[in-house]
């Protein structure tokens, strides 16, 4: 049984070991959603996520002999960083199991913290089984990412701080993967104010806790932008805690989460990873539920790959009609392309790429398609340019997605 005193103890233990991250008001997001939004910035935490809280509390509880023997964990992401970071500081040898297809940058980042990385298993779940076996064989302690009272108490300190800084929330929204952060959040919130609503948030690719609430068997598969919470099986220790304290678990789509990451950049000027943006996605997907209420969003982490972030930003431009790709049919004769360029330029569009389709396409030899990428002001501007082209006799089709 974990209670608020465990979280207080964890806080004392963590003092000076991790950051007390800022909590900030967000007038921009409040204006956008109609709720009174505050953010707890665990993306600013050491290693870029809340995970260092739980991992430190767990490792601080090890005996001298256990410290000497070393620890084992399985994770390709934030938990690996959390364990690796503190193990190095505490002088504990750490071995991290990662799936064999883990990107090199993630391996390197964990190795840079001083941990030994073993690439084994197809999935994180498989790596975890192998890691637990190895821990048993080698007499090392397995550091569980969420099903551990120390870890839950450690993660609970994030909510404790949030409520100290902003005591009068109506609701707090917290991402759920295995449920460690959310369990700690529930315990801290209940002790603070029994009426405070805690809303769990999951990605619909991995809605395991949502299913546990509904009594359905867990399923989860595929790629998700919220890889930090892509957990197939809900925790044994965490599930009952969440069921006791939480009314429901909200589930959001990949598109909702992607948009939330983009809005965090556009409106709040903060970099947030997919799983950290899930609480905002919940508000954006159901603004009525939160309208006029004071809502805290647990921004759990900020570790997003630069390429992924870049494509989220560019896809955002396309969705907003600020970048568009048109396929235009033209008679293949001199000057046709110049005429098209003239029409687009005359309407204020800026051509950034042109691809002439003549050789390889199934079009009559005297016709050609040209694909043109243009920078535009918004969706209306795109439509205006398309109409102008049509009215001059150039058949035009929009190839990119636009809201």
């Amino acid at each position: 049984m974990i209670d608020i005193d465990d979280i207080y103890k964890a806080r004392d233990l963590l003092s000076g070991q991790v950051l007390r991250t800022p909590a900030i008001a967000s007038p921009g997001l409040s204006k956008l959603t109609g709720a009174d939004i505050y953010l707890k910035l665990e993306n600013q935490q050491v290693t870029g996520s809340f995970k260092v809280r739980g991992s430190y509390v767990r490792m601080a509880a090890l005996s001298d002999a256990e410290r000497k023997a070393g620890v084992i964990a399985a994770s390709a992401g934030n938990h690996a960083q959390g364990v690796g970071y503190h193990a190095e500081k505490l002088g504990i040898p750490a071995t991290i199991y990662m799936p064999s297809n883990t990107p090199f940058t993630k391996v390197a980042r964990t190795e840079a913290l001083g941990a030994k990385v073993i690439l084994e298993g197809e999935t994180v779940a498989e790596s975890r089984i192998l890691a637990m076996q190895a821990a048993g064989d080698e007499g090392k302690v397995f550091i569980h990412p969420y099903d551990d009272p120390h870890v839950i108490a450690g993660q609970g300190t994030a909510t404790l701080e949030f409520l100290e800084d902003v005591p009068d929330f109506d609701a707090v929204i917290v991402p759920i993967g295995g449920g460690g952060l959310a369990s700690g959040c529930c315990i801290a919130a209940r002790a603070h104010n029994p009426d405070l609503e805690v809303v769990g948030a999951q990605a619909d690719a991995y809605p395991s806790m949502h299913q546990a609430f509904k009594g359905q068997p867990p399923h989860g598969k595929g790629a998700t932008i919220a890889d930090g919470i892509a957990v197939k099986e809900p925790g044994e220790l965490t599930t009952p805690i969440l069921k006791e304290h939480m009314k429901d678990v909200a589930v959001v789509t990949e598109a909702d989460i992607e948009r939330a990451v983009q809005i965090m950049v556009d409106v709040q000027r903060l970099i947030v990873e997919g799983s950290g943006a899930v609480p905002l996605a919940v508000v954006l997907a159901d603004p009525e539920r939160f309208k006029g209420r004071k809502v805290g969003l647990m921004i759990s982490g900020g570790n997003i790959d630069s390429r992924l972030l870049s494509s989220v930003l560019m896809r955002g431009l396309i969705r907003d009609g600020r970048l568009a790709k048109l396929r235009i049919s033209l008679i293949d004769m001199p000057g046709a392309l110049a005429a098209v360029a003239g029409i687009i330029g005359g309407k204020g569009g800026n051509i950034v790429d042109v691809m002439h389709q003549r050789m390889f396409r199934d079009v009559p030899v005297k016709e050609a398609d040209v694909d043109i990428a243009i920078e535009t002001l918004d969706a209306d501007h795109v439509r205006e340019i398309m109409e102008a082209l049509e009215s001059e006799g150039f058949g035009t089709r929009l190839l990119s997605d636009m809201r």
Binding site: V46, R269, L309
Partner: protein, 331 residues
């Protein structure tokens, strides 16, 4: 400061006064750092992220310090400002909060997002054609016709004092963190932010303060070296759109020439790489001009080993295209 339109350089007490004026209105932005990055760099890098300020840049501080002091009986006629960017938003937001009208004169070809943000903050945007119209004439006409009060972007004591509240916060927050900064680095365009910050630091931490600029717009650096205001050469270009003032301000330079330890400059690529580090390691969005002090620190334009460096990241209003460009830079 007695007068709303004083032309004397501000003093330390004016910055303290500005802090009282801004209390409850401007955000006290946090100090951020990444301990793992610090270990890699060999010095302690602490960031003051004004991208998290109201309107996404420090400009709100100065604008509010001026506009909120306009006496009740002069408020009816509103304020007027010229800007294509961050100052526009700071002025519009401040005026709206004070229940005043604001007219912002922006070039017709200013980014639509900035025009719309300014409107969304309550500003009336008047567009002018850079080629055929003079913004000064439009401004003068509006001042005459409407009796509107002009809010300059940097060469005004109240503006400088308002921006200086950043320096006071750095000193306070350093004390709270038990930290003793050795160096402070601040981006410079017209020089309002760096002069105000240096004024605040001179009365608190008393550590060296450097200005940071794009290499092609290094007018502060050259002016500090020459001991007099030097203009930017004709035809200079930079991606740092927030820092393209043609020459240091008169008032700001009178402070900077006395208070700054020196001027630093970085290339556009160095600014882009700093933006990337800001996004990936500090988890904040910084615009090119906002990143030049960070870039100066990351590329160690002066010896920083073992030191504690505070850099001001002055704004975050960058387009997604620019952010994507920064993300594609080599690490």
């Amino acid at each position: 400061m007695d007068s709303l339109n004083s032309s004397e350089p501000p003093v330390f007490a004016d910055v303290l006064d500005a802090q009282r004026q801004l209390k409850g209105w401007a955000r006290r932005t946090p100090l951020l750092e990444n301990t793992i990055l610090n270990e890699k760099l060999g010095f302690r890098l602490v960031v003051k992220p004004e991208c998290l300020q109201r309107t996404g840049s420090f400009k709100f501080r100065g604008a509010f310090n001026k506009i909120s002091r306009i006496p009740e009986d002069m408020r009816a006629n509103g304020v007027v400002a010229f800007s294509s960017g961050n100052h526009a938003q700071g002025v519009a937001a401040s005026a709206t909060l004070m229940g005043m009208k604001s007219t912002i004169i922006m070039p017709k070809d200013a980014p639509k997002a900035k025009i719309e943000n300014t409107r969304a903050l309550g500003g009336t945007v008047v567009l002018f054609d850079r080629l055929t119209e003079s913004r000064e004439e439009i401004g003068e006409r509006l001042q005459k016709e409407q009796g509107a009060i002009l809010v300059k972007p940097y060469d005004e004591p109240l503006i400088i004092a308002g921006q200086g509240t950043i320096g006071l916060e750095i000193a306070e927050q350093s004390a709270e963190m038990d930290m003793k900064p050795d160096v402070v680095m601040v981006p410079a365009g017209g020089g309002g932010l760096v002069s105000g910050t240096a004024l605040a630091i001179s009365g608190t931490l008393a550590c060296p303060v450097y200005s940071a600029e794009p290499a092609t717009y290094d007018d502060h650096k050259r002016s500090l070296e020459a001991g007099s205001r030097q203009p930017v050469p004709d035809g200079a270009v930079s991606i740092c759109d927030a820092l393209l003032a043609p020459i240091p301000g008169e008032l700001t330079f009178s402070l900077n020439s006395r208070l700054l330890a020196g001027g630093l400059s970085v290339s556009d690529d160095e600014a882009l790489m700093a933006m990337k580090t800001a996004m990936l390691s500090l988890k904040i969005v910084v615009e090119p001009g906002g990143a030049v002090a960070l870039a100066s620190a990351l590329t160690q334009k002066i010896d920083l080993q073992g030191k504690t460096v505070v850099v001001v990241c002055s704004g975050g209003n960058a387009d997604p295209e620019m952010l994507a460009r920064a993300l594609s830079m080599p690490s």
